[in-house]
Symmetry: C2
Subunit: 300 residues, 2 copies
């Protein structure tokens, strides 16, 4: 037995384990991606047997037995593998590697370290699970201050000061967009292609500040009175929902977007319209940078 | 043949023909209800054969052949029996009886007069079909001025000055409540009974003015952090959505609610919380008062 730390422990497998999907990254100590795998075994699909689902992922990736595994996201929620208590928002992001919770289930074949989420309590209760890991990665890459937007099903706006989250605000933008596209009065109208003018018109409508329940009906009213072609409704609704985030955030600067290229482009368009400069960060890059921080603290 | 107007022409059948349901009222010249019938043959169900659906309703009610029939609501929309153009908001409500559009389809057995809806164009596009008839009834009962709220799937707030609508604002309150109860993140939480304290907490949250996409996520955040029992989520969401209407309307006074007793009670609770006095009007009573106005103008 080698008394030095085996090289394999200088690798780490990170699992971004969300509600519907799961993505695993094998990284080295520098956060370099060595392997990657994505599947649809998110929390909802894996729920009957998290330990088995975890073991199958590791087998499929053929990860050495002594490589530690860290999972973030909804896997640590009340509907997840285990309900990991939220950290208070005052806990610095760089303290996350000291807060991992170990699940040691024999059916899993090896332990899994779970990253806790954060909760903001008081007047504006809010929560996150998963985004804290990306934000740790941003901090690791030197972005210790400013506003971050992480668009998605539940779009997060986060103010970070010296590596500590000061404010979390979550918007159900993606979820409402999907729900309105599938159900109710607007669904039959929301079939058009991306339309920049309609997206901007939605941003402008958001700026007027009417409640979404009123502004959304206005989409139908515009279409039935001929004031807007039905083909523009989908992009207009997107503009309304994204615009509401920018209006609520005020002049958030500097603003960094952690999201896919398509979402970054959409948020950059909105930011420009609201007079805010938006910098982009690749979500895989920040995630791997966070994994390197975790690996740093895991004893070999 | 009697040269005097036969007594039967001094009756009128009104059909409040909405999207999902339909309600018919036989009234005399004073607006007294002589018969009534409700069914689920709203626009969506009747769409394959409006004329046949109309004929079956009249046969079921055994209405004399010379009784005129007036229908209001979504029956006059693009998805209805015929797409009747909207009146401009500047047309006085009392001019409605002069604006009826006659559908004379042989398969219907007799003509049907359709009440046109109204459109507000310009910066705040909005539309109504059906509520204009209730508002005409309110005017006929002497309520010529003030704010009216007609809660429902698409809750209408209408400012009336001397019998003319000056402002229409529609809120998708009922539709969003139903959609959120059935789909997505909040649906599993929205199962509790009516809870006054939670409804009021939702009203207070609405007053803070955050976008609904943010405030709705806050419901989930409260529940998962233990700041609110899940059983309160349903009433809290109701308070958020109803509260958004009151916040947008500002201090709308005098305010009259045309709605069912249950909805009037809910809106009265919200009005009281926002320091507004709300008077109630029975929707059947205003509808029949409007029918008497129509009958007044139909030549015998």
């Amino acid at each position: 037995m080698d008394t030095c730390a085996p090289t394999s422990t200088r690798r780490l497998l990170g699992i971004d384990w969300g509600t519907s999907n799961r993505r695993a990254y094998l990284v080295d100590a520098a956060g370099t991606r060595l392997a990657e795998r994505a599947d649809d075994q998110g929390m909802l699909a894996a729920r009957p047997d998290f330990a088995g689902s975890f073991a199958r992922l590791l087998a499929a990736m053929d990860v050495d037995a002594d490589v530690p595994v860290v999972a973030s996201g909804m896997v640590g929620s009340a509907q997840g593998w285990r309900d990991i208590p939220y950290l208070d928002i005052g806990v610095p992001l760089e303290a996350l590697p000291d807060c991992l919770v170990c699940i040691d289930d024999p059916r899993a074949g090896r332990p899994c370290l779970i990253v806790p989420g954060y909760a903001q309590r008081g007047a504006h209760v809010d929560v996150m699970r998963g985004e804290e890991t990306q934000l740790l990665g941003a901090v690791a890459l030197g972005r210790r201050d400013g506003w971050f937007v992480l668009p998605g099903t539940h779009s997060k706006w986060v103010l970070v000061e010296d590596g500590i989250m000061r404010r979390i605000a979550t918007f159900m933008t993606g979820e409402l967009f999907a729900t309105l596209s599938a159900h109710g009065t607007l669904a039959p109208l929301m079939t058009g292609d991306d339309d920049d003018a309609a997206f901007v018109a939605g941003l402008d409508e958001a700026r007027l500040g009417a409640p979404l329940s009123n502004a959304l009906f206005g989409v139908r009213a515009r279409v039935v009175t001929g004031a807007m072609p039905a083909a523009q409704a989908r992009s207009f609704v997107s503009g309304l929902l994204v615009g509401a985030e920018f209006v609520a955030a005020g002049r958030a600067a500097p603003l960094t977007c952690i999201g896919s290229p398509a979402l970054q482009a959409r948020y950059a368009r909105a930011a420009g319209h609201f007079g805010v400069t938006l910098a982009g960060l690749d979500p895989d890059r920040v995630y791997c940078a966070a994994l390197a921080r975790f690996l740093d603290r895991i004893p070999s």
